[in-house]
Symmetry: C2
Subunit: 583 residues, 2 copies
Amino acid sequence: MYRSNTCGELNISHIETEVTLSGWVHKQRDKGFVVWVDLRDRYGITQLVFDEERTAAHLLETARKLGRETVIQVKGTVIERASKNPNIPTGDIEVLVTELEILNESLLPPFTIEDETDGGEDLRMKYRYLDIRRNPVKENLMFRHKVSMEVRKYLSDQGFIDVETPYLIKSTPEGARDFLVPSRMNEGQFYALPQSPQTFKQLLMVGGMDKYFQIVKCFRDEDLRADRQPEFTQIDCELAFVEQEDILNTFEGLTKHLLKEIKGVEIDNFPRITFDDAMKRYGNDKPDIRFGMEFGELNTVAQHKDFNVFNSAELVVGIAVPGGNSYTRKEIDKLTDWVKRPQVGALGMVYCRCNEDGSFKSSVDKFYDQEDLSQWAAATHAEPGDLICVLSGDTNKVRSQMSALRMELAERLGLRKPEEFAPLWVIDFPLLELDEETGNYHAMHHPFTSPKPGQLDLLDSDPGAVKANAYDLVLNGNEIGGGSIRIHDKKTQAIMFKHLGFTEEEAKAQFGFLMDAFQYGAPPHGGIAFGLDRLVAILGGQETIRDFIAFPKNNSGRDVMIDAPATIDDTQLKELHLKLDLE
Amino acid sequence: MYRSNTCGELNISHIETEVTLSGWVHKQRDKGFVVWVDLRDRYGITQLVFDEERTAAHLLETARKLGRETVIQVKGTVIERASKNPNIPTGDIEVLVTELEILNESLLPPFTIEDETDGGEDLRMKYRYLDIRRNPVKENLMFRHKVSMEVRKYLSDQGFIDVETPYLIKSTPEGARDFLVPSRMNEGQFYALPQSPQTFKQLLMVGGMDKYFQIVKCFRDEDLRADRQPEFTQIDCELAFVEQEDILNTFEGLTKHLLKEIKGVEIDNFPRITFDDAMKRYGNDKPDIRFGMEFGELNTVAQHKDFNVFNSAELVVGIAVPGGNSYTRKEIDKLTDWVKRPQVGALGMVYCRCNEDGSFKSSVDKFYDQEDLSQWAAATHAEPGDLICVLSGDTNKVRSQMSALRMELAERLGLRKPEEFAPLWVIDFPLLELDEETGNYHAMHHPFTSPKPGQLDLLDSDPGAVKANAYDLVLNGNEIGGGSIRIHDKKTQAIMFKHLGFTEEEAKAQFGFLMDAFQYGAPPHGGIAFGLDRLVAILGGQETIRDFIAFPKNNSGRDVMIDAPATIDDTQLKELHLKLDLE
């Protein structure tokens, strides 16, 4: 035992107790006749005191020389502090040290181990083991643990069984790219790492497991966008003998439980919105509904005059920015520049000031009179004092542009409050999505998602119109979970594969085992998967996932701490029956 | 909702209730005027009844034609059975069916879905989703879930934090062979899948996480021995500021908790035995102590006569087989043949009968008199009625042979009782192990294990004699966990690498990040890892792990159900900058 107590637990009730503590030297203050050392461990900080009157001279000397992050063990007596610190749990006491042992020295860390560090992202990643000593990172990891435990407890209490599915599986070249694992024992063959345990959880339903869950690593070899990781964690779930309604209720229950247990927030029934409605009202299938600024479509009230920009547009849409009439002309011009950036891509922005006296002043007063503008205000629910921003163009593009503007404005206006939680279900997703480059349809969710009852025939006549039994759970503008009711009969699955461009041979080679399984009494089933990294970050009031992952990779998929990936020995390559094929 | 109740919950209290059930047709009995169907789901079996008097004719006809494993949904009324079945929870009732819907048809399964199936191992693996419907497999998986949950609960309650470590890491060619993952984004470079999260959990200790655990998949690309899997699950743990004693106490606590919660077995303090003692008394570092037959070394009482076989042997050792004097001569000859099989490798076996009258009769009476043999009996603790089996030869070999014989006899005598649990700690393992082929030493546990205090200098003079702060937890003759106190300073770690044959460059290239981390205030730390697959199997009273894994691989590392590994597309190879190099 290196300690009798942790550095976070001593208080006034321990006065006069002899204790042994171990930890890191967080800070040292040398006032000449007295030296204070803040000793830190996972649990907190305890102040150690050495002084000329009460401490042996050699001990005081040693204390004077202690560098930051040195690992020490001390014995001493808990005494009451002269000047207390009400900000920390141990602030009433200090430990008068009688023995001190240096357990390990430390070089000067490349950045300060403080809540606000001077270390940049790259340095923090290279020395992640030091970064984890910092409270914000440490607390994020402990928070993640708490969320995982609550998820497991809740699902287990609901009768779900945690079943581990394999990591060495088979490559399915459709969809995202697989990470591959060459097999030494099966020459010329490869395993793939799972992008999700999708087929296995469906097979567990065929196997009668009834309710399955797993918190599991998944892998996608994609070019990394910001805040994506090649390996990520899912809360993966599947249930048999259920309809969409059962799944929504079950996982609304889980989410409510987490919000209550972890954040102390109680939320009533989650709103539900169809995909079509979400696109119409928010330009986005994962709307942040912590704030308003819903889209007002203006075609009927803006296409009757001579303003050709609007008249030639497929969609004219506006939002009312609360209090936006206070923006100066210069600020509005800047906003216009913002929507014209290539990342957003609008050609311009029309605005209309809603004055406190009920009058309007727009950038297109040449074309529209007060009556017109009052109709814009009605359509966007603008109040006096607001600013109406209007974009126009092709429906899909303009919705996406307006969604970006809405989010940006909410951010600037402080409406995206990290400690406010606004979950909602987005339902009735399209089954298929048109790939505009290739002209082919691919599965919006995945090829195992079932179309809405009675819509199978539409697949031939109007594939884009087919809706799926698919749903997303959205929290604060982020998709935190998504799932679907699955196909459970071979015939429908075969039709789906055909429509997704699989030949019969391809379907059999890749998913023959699943189609076979469907012939032996597959029950109706469905499921959902949550992105744990994202869920934890949002519950933690943050939007970037990286600091909720102990050892994340950078945007090139590298772990800069261990320096992986790396080259391997020729003998390793040879054993795997491989040669490099470098450019 | 496809059901109002499961097939496992209806009883006499539900009489007259209208219910909806869904599940699989387990059995159908057609008595002409009445048809009974056993409807099965994860939770149990409920009897459905259709008869000429009370059931609509078309429904009775449908019921008559229901094949095994058809998925159906029924509505009906719970009624009391005429002839009750006390063996199942639902045995007092049956459901008089009023509506029946076939949810999915089933082909005839390739083997029967019964506790004792007619399906062989290969067929069961190919149709694992059907195998999982069988009670023994389903219950094993649910048992595993229960064990995992209890492990997590216990460790979390003890302040351990579940931290996920990365799966895409760096290859370390020493030790077992890594599975490799080519990186597309980093041309010519590879990730490796972790054989264990060893270095990461140590870095978490350097990072101040203090107590870490994770239930995590690990990977080893080894030629598979029976009952080994290329991917397996560990309960991985690490603690800072601890000594060996703290770790043994903590994980003895975990094991006691599991035995009590899962098996209802309470066990006092676990015995501890040194590695040397275990080898001497059981010929084995994972002794099964549910039974006796401890080794008696006979050198002093068997090397004083003219029997050259013994006189020339490094070790003469015997065990007393309880009641073994009842063996016929033929049976003993068969036992001799058994130890002479190449898998065991003894050159012969000497035996000595302990007669009920206190006299002895041995196979070497020509050399040894009654007084000699009574000393053999004393050394092996043989009682009248026992049979002493004696082997001789090189110490290491003969211990291993005798250990095999001891286990075989215990098996035959029914002494390895699956529902009896005898845990023990084996401690004081050697730090290094001589590879007899190469003459090199390698780490017995792993290169991060610390030598016993004060023994570092011995590394030069007598490397084989250095003991480590390493320990195994053994349960019923199986190592279920193992760990060590780690090295936590760069200098000692460098010395260890040197002794393991690493050049300075190799050590730096592979483990530079760990050595660097040790320079920034690494605390003393240590840990342990349990093999979850094995632990669960043993707690479940079985010795093979395969049926405690949902989707296991066969001895060639293949998943025969999904047919993986498999060949991949040329484009996939090309993207990974690889060419096949087939023979």
